[in-house]
């Protein structure tokens, strides 16, 4: 399995606010790396034998790569909008494929069953048809609608939420959802996934929200609750590696985004954490 194309991508490796001179030891795709703050206060990442690795700081996180990224990290224009609250949700390690962590984030059918009374509730379980397309080589799902008892901390009561999903990189997903206090804007919730091994990843959620009422701790806890509800399921999904070929699984209309994501991964040869023949 050639992982070459994923070697040159950017990956999150730490929270910039938590960086100190002593640094933290972590890994990218099996290679130990070190993430620290240098004398000038900038982030510095070194790989095996102290080799310097590319680094950038964006969306509250330190990003690095084992190879040579051909482009700058993807843009999220909402990250520069005044008035937004930027929330570092904190890392959670999951014993699953980094690609499965992303795919789960793109799914909405599980909302009434896993995030009961928050992101969904029985009997409002139908996933109405939505649109999936490729824009500038990114996977986009738009016109997604779902009834949610509590869509966000800022929501008072149940609402039908609109969603857009975007996959700008193999292990990153960006969610745009109805912003209750400002209906003409989108709240932005992201999942930045650091691949440690093909079946182990560190997940770094981050958000850019309009919400002047809720405390930062409550915003963090709301998102951590959602993610922790998914975690035990992620750790039990089989096969461990994400299948990129059809086989035993039969997707339905509710799985449109997952199907597009898997095809996009296969087309780009993004196969770290994936398998090519479904068992």
């Amino acid at each position: 399995m050639t992982h070459n194309t994923m070697i040159d991508e950017w990956y999150p490796v730490g929270l910039f606010s938590k960086l100190d001179a002593a640094g933290r030891e972590t890994a990218l795709m099996g290679e130990p790396i070190d993430v620290a703050r240098d004398a000038e206060g900038s982030a510095k990442v070194t790989g095996r034998n102290g080799r310097p690795l590319p680094v950038c700081v964006r969306y509250g996180h330190v990003w690095s790569s084992l190879g040579t990224p051909l482009k700058a990290l993807f843009a999220i224009p909402e990250a520069d909008q005044a008035g937004r609250r930027f929330v570092d949700v904190g890392v959670v390690r999951v014993r699953c494929s980094p690609l499965r962590a992303v795919e789960n984030f793109l799914d909405i059918a599980h909302f009434p069953f896993v995030h009961t009374d928050i992101l969904g509730a029985e009997p409002h379980t139908e996933v109405q048809n939505y649109k999936v397309e490729i824009r500038e080589d990114e996977v986009w799902a738009t016109q997604v609608k779902f009834y949610q008892p509590q869509a966000a901390k800022s929501a008072s009561g149940g609402i039908t939420t609109e969603y857009m999903y975007r996959v700008p990189a193999p292990t990153c997903a960006v969610l745009y959802k109805t912003c209750p206090p400002r209906p003409s804007e989108w709240d932005v919730i992201t999942l930045f996934v650091q691949p440690l091994a093909e079946d182990l990843c560190d997940v770094w959620p981050w958000m850019a929200l309009f919400d002047d009422e809720t405390s930062m701790t409550d915003l963090i806890h709301f998102q951590q609750t959602i993610f922790l509800q998914d975690r035990s399921i992620l750790e039990n999904q089989i096969p461990r590696l994400l299948p990129l070929d059809p086989g035993m699984e039969i997707p339905t209309r509710a799985d449109l985004t997952s199907v597009a994501y898997r095809r996009w991964l296969k087309r780009h040869n993004y196969t770290y954490g994936a398998q090519l023949v479904a068992q």
């Binding site: 929270l15 890392v91 390690r93 405390s215 701790t217 951590q224």
Partner: protein, 219 residues
């Protein structure tokens, strides 16, 4: 009653669960345990020098041990959760409350390491976890032979609530519950209790949820 609380903390959940089961209303004060480490900050260290959560505050009373909080809630609102008062039962409750601290250290330590990247010797933590789970399984099997579904009696006590959360979240620390059928039955019995509440990772029993109201029309 004010609870300094972290939604993902099994120790905090013990108190939230006990309050729900006994009908006590808590004022929740969320603590940014991760990533903020607020429990080690000056405000909370002044309240609890041990630097741990939960902390329960009720007027002049400040409690920092979750077992004490469970006992306090029961004593205030539902004393049947403390046992009958007979010597043997009272002692068994105390034994299991102390045992629960070993679950926090072993299963809790493994979970913190595997999930939230806290330092620890994961092999040792998992070995200690398994030893504790085997003791719990044996205890529940013995209770089953006495015709009792819970740790001290045929009804739940604070002992069950103290032991339940870390056990239910054992897989978070890489410790499987597959070898322990009595523990799984006990977990189902607890999750079937009226007024049971969930925490992320611990679910109510789906079959006990009320049937959804099916709306007519619209295909």
């Amino acid at each position: 009653m004010k609870l300094y609380d972290y939604i993902l903390s099994p120790s905090c959940y013990k108190v939230r669960l006990m309050a729900a089961l006994t009908g006590v209303k808590l004022d929740i004060r969320p603590v940014d345990f991760h990533p903020g480490a607020e429990h080690r900050g000056p405000e909370l260290l002044a309240l609890n020098p041990a630097g741990s959560i939960p902390i329960l505050e009720d007027a002049d009373l400040i409690l920092t041990e979750s077992s004490a909080m469970l006992v306090y809630l029961a004593a205030r609102a539902a004393p049947e959760w403390l046992g009958t008062g007979a010597a043997e039962g009272t002692a068994r409750v105390q034994q299991w409350l102390s045992f629960a601290n070993r679950l926090t250290a072993s299963l809790g330590g493994a979970r913190l390491h595997e999930m939230l990247l806290r330092p620890g010797d994961i092999t040792a933590l998992q070995a200690l976890s398994i030893a504790a789970l085997r003791e719990l399984e044996a205890g529940l099997v013995e209770q089953g032979l006495r015709g009792m579904r819970f740790l001290v009696a045929d009804r739940p006590t604070v002992a069950d609530i103290a032991c339940f959360p870390y056990v239910a979240l054992a897989p978070d620390g890489g410790v499987s519950l597959d070898p322990y059928p009595a523990i799984r039955l006990w977990s189902r019995a607890l999750r079937s209790l009226e007024n049971f509440i969930e925490m992320p990772g611990i679910h109510r029993l789906h079959e006990l949820k009320p049937e959804p109201h099916i709306e007519p029309g619209k295909v």
